[in-house]
Symmetry: C2
Subunit: 501 residues, 2 copies
Amino acid sequence: MFESAELGHKIDKATYDKEVPLLREALLDAQLDLAQSGMFPVIVLLGGVDGAGRGETVNLLNEWMDPRHVQSHGMGEPSDEELDRPMMWRFWRALPPKGKIGVFLGSWYTWPILNRVNGVTKTADLDQSLERAKRLEKMLTDEGALIIKFWLHLSKDKQEKRLKVLEKDPKTRWRVTERDWEHFKLYDKFRTVHESVIRHTSTAEAPWFIVEGEDPRYRSLTIGKMIQEAIRKRLDTPEKQPTGINAPPLLPSIDHLHILKTLDLTQKIEKKKFEEELEKYQGKLALLTRDPRFREITVVLVFEGNDAAGKGGSIRRITSALDARIYQVVPIAAPTEEERAQPYQWRFWRHIPRRGRVTIFDRSWYGRVLVERVEGYCSEADWMRAYTEINDFEAQLTRHNIVVSKFWLTISKDEQLRRFKEREKTGFKRYKITDEDWRNREKWDAYEQAICDMVDRTSTEASPWTLVEANDKYFARIKILKTLCSQIEARLKNLPKNKAT
Amino acid sequence: MFESAELGHKIDKATYDKEVPLLREALLDAQLDLAQSGMFPVIVLLGGVDGAGRGETVNLLNEWMDPRHVQSHGMGEPSDEELDRPMMWRFWRALPPKGKIGVFLGSWYTWPILNRVNGVTKTADLDQSLERAKRLEKMLTDEGALIIKFWLHLSKDKQEKRLKVLEKDPKTRWRVTERDWEHFKLYDKFRTVHESVIRHTSTAEAPWFIVEGEDPRYRSLTIGKMIQEAIRKRLDTPEKQPTGINAPPLLPSIDHLHILKTLDLTQKIEKKKFEEELEKYQGKLALLTRDPRFREITVVLVFEGNDAAGKGGSIRRITSALDARIYQVVPIAAPTEEERAQPYQWRFWRHIPRRGRVTIFDRSWYGRVLVERVEGYCSEADWMRAYTEINDFEAQLTRHNIVVSKFWLTISKDEQLRRFKEREKTGFKRYKITDEDWRNREKWDAYEQAICDMVDRTSTEASPWTLVEANDKYFARIKILKTLCSQIEARLKNLPKNKAT
């Protein structure tokens, strides 16, 4: 979930100085058009970790925008007036009217998160608060509001560094409080709760946008641009979508850095070493799946990747370690007529295995946010809601002791070309390469954007994505086997009781 | 919530014998058109209390409909195949494809309810299950499914009677099990849980329809007709609504019996008795609101009623007992420009009082499901979602120790005419009667339907509607004062701790 916000996004000063005047003008334009049309209110929520720059962002937005049409609200400790009324009253009181922008520093998420981390409430209470927040946002968007939710993130190291830097400088020292350091000690606990909050409340109508908070220039430009583009998009398409969803757009990161670019595709394993490791991890997998405790769990594997990235070969290295009676490989192609007559998820539910079994999906439910999104086979509203639906789906699986292990196999564009050509030459591999593969290749950038959004929005603590550097097949296969073994091992060691709900 | 399903709805044999052949033909027609179009699947859920006729209904539907296009599923104890997979798998397996109808006896609600009543789970767990169920239904309706949820209800007396009748008859004795009687002993507990389930999961996309289960003819015709009309409505308006909501229609009850008809409007109090009681209950109210514990709670009163039903007079009898510093009367008319620039609920939230205060709404947020619905000031989707939004809103209030007391003042059509004419004669009352009042009167039946739906869908254990027979002003005023006193008293006696969520 936070992968993309830990890459070290940066904007250099020259670019920033060039971009800011343009952005400010566009923002003012959007604001003015919004005010004149009086079409909808804009609600900007700024959440995130201490030191990630929420306060500075509010100040900057106030500086950049027309103060007549924007109002910011620091939602700190409630006043006695506010405590005397239901929790949501303070937000209702501060809601911007149509045509205006309200920026909230802290939100209806702040106190439920703090109460959970401090142990005042249980997970179930947190979930109830989140459902209330979701219902509120649903009502607001049903009433036409544009809600843009930013989550400013810092990795643990970065947060520590940032707090120290702020503390050192006499000009900013006052901003670091005792409480900030107390919170820092609870970083991991906060992270788990934050992930759960973002996963539960990133809806199709009001998705979260996670922004890396370290570099002020990157953070400011990103947030400013998102607000400007979201207002502009809505002003340009005022009519409601058929599904009632009219969300802010998902944009590529402004510094063009993304998770796939950070992968080191030159990683290699020599053949001899590969054979040793293969034997080792296949042996381990064989033992794990024959462990008596394995009957209590289930394994669902998802393989996605670029065309020709070697999914099939990797799958075969897994299945050859498994008892043929316990596994099934399910290739996912275009849906059959029977499948098209059912809701999208039906074709995957039907293949969910029993306890003690393994199902390997060769392509999967992620088709909706990859090929269907890029090729326009479904509407924006459909793939936007798919992220939430997928998270719900996988949460149901993991709740039932199912290990959900997801692999994205990445190869470089050059390596793909080499493999395509090789396949065309090799007679028995020629069937593997089609015109569609060549067409997909032309949309490389659109696919990259879709892959990054997919990982950002569906990689969770319970079922994370593993990105596999697959230019070298040996390396890829071993990484996959090793990851799979450790995930199964972890689950077997930590068998939770099954809840009767 | 169950008020309308405890009225003793009945259809006589002659009517039934006349109606059934027509309904069956219409049902078969709808089914055939549905199958041929293959446009959407229909999911019928049958929930409810034991003995309310769920099983018979399934049998009847199977008899009435074309067996090629309908399939029923008894969702009893899960099989070992099903237990080995996540809970929802068994439902996915049984989902009807587009063009077909699936009837579910028991559903994703059955086990969460049983587990809660049997104490296996807590309220928070139940809420989580309900949220999962709601998300599933949301996904299904987003994918185009038509979901029709029936709740077959019996009052406690009726359930006991029904179980005894079944037990007496050798032909039906086998249908009453040990478990049915065990459940009967838990009737009140079940009722509370059922109400919570219905309130939480009666969404705009998939509302519950509560059907009185006692009379088989009424029950069968009602359910058959609802299914037929819902399919027909959807076939006739295939395009998605702008808000993505395309719910089954709310229909008047087939025997034309409704809660307002059961009120005894002849009830009267003599003047002398009135003055005694007025003094008594105004005194009581004065004491209660001066009780030190009153500072811990808040009172929100809602007055709705027919035009000229005497809301103003009743309100004055309350306020004259209150310290002027603690109360406020908020008359709700057409929204101001400022209010129109905000979401619908904003104008009510702004008047929510502090602890220790009383706010009296003379007309209220119920305008959306009354005048706005009947006059077409908002879309069907808007007033359909308003029921859920109102329940959420009031739940937030009651969670905060706010007594939410709602009065509907009913007068007969004749009495209204008398009062209108009187007002026109009396100089100083003439301002009270407008053309609009006369126009509203013409839509008497449409308003009655809206009032009944409102009470059915928003009268909850925590904030029930009190229906007030108001042909006699004295009677009405005393009933209101008495009810209010007892509600405040109950809350003061039972001050719950405020949850920090």
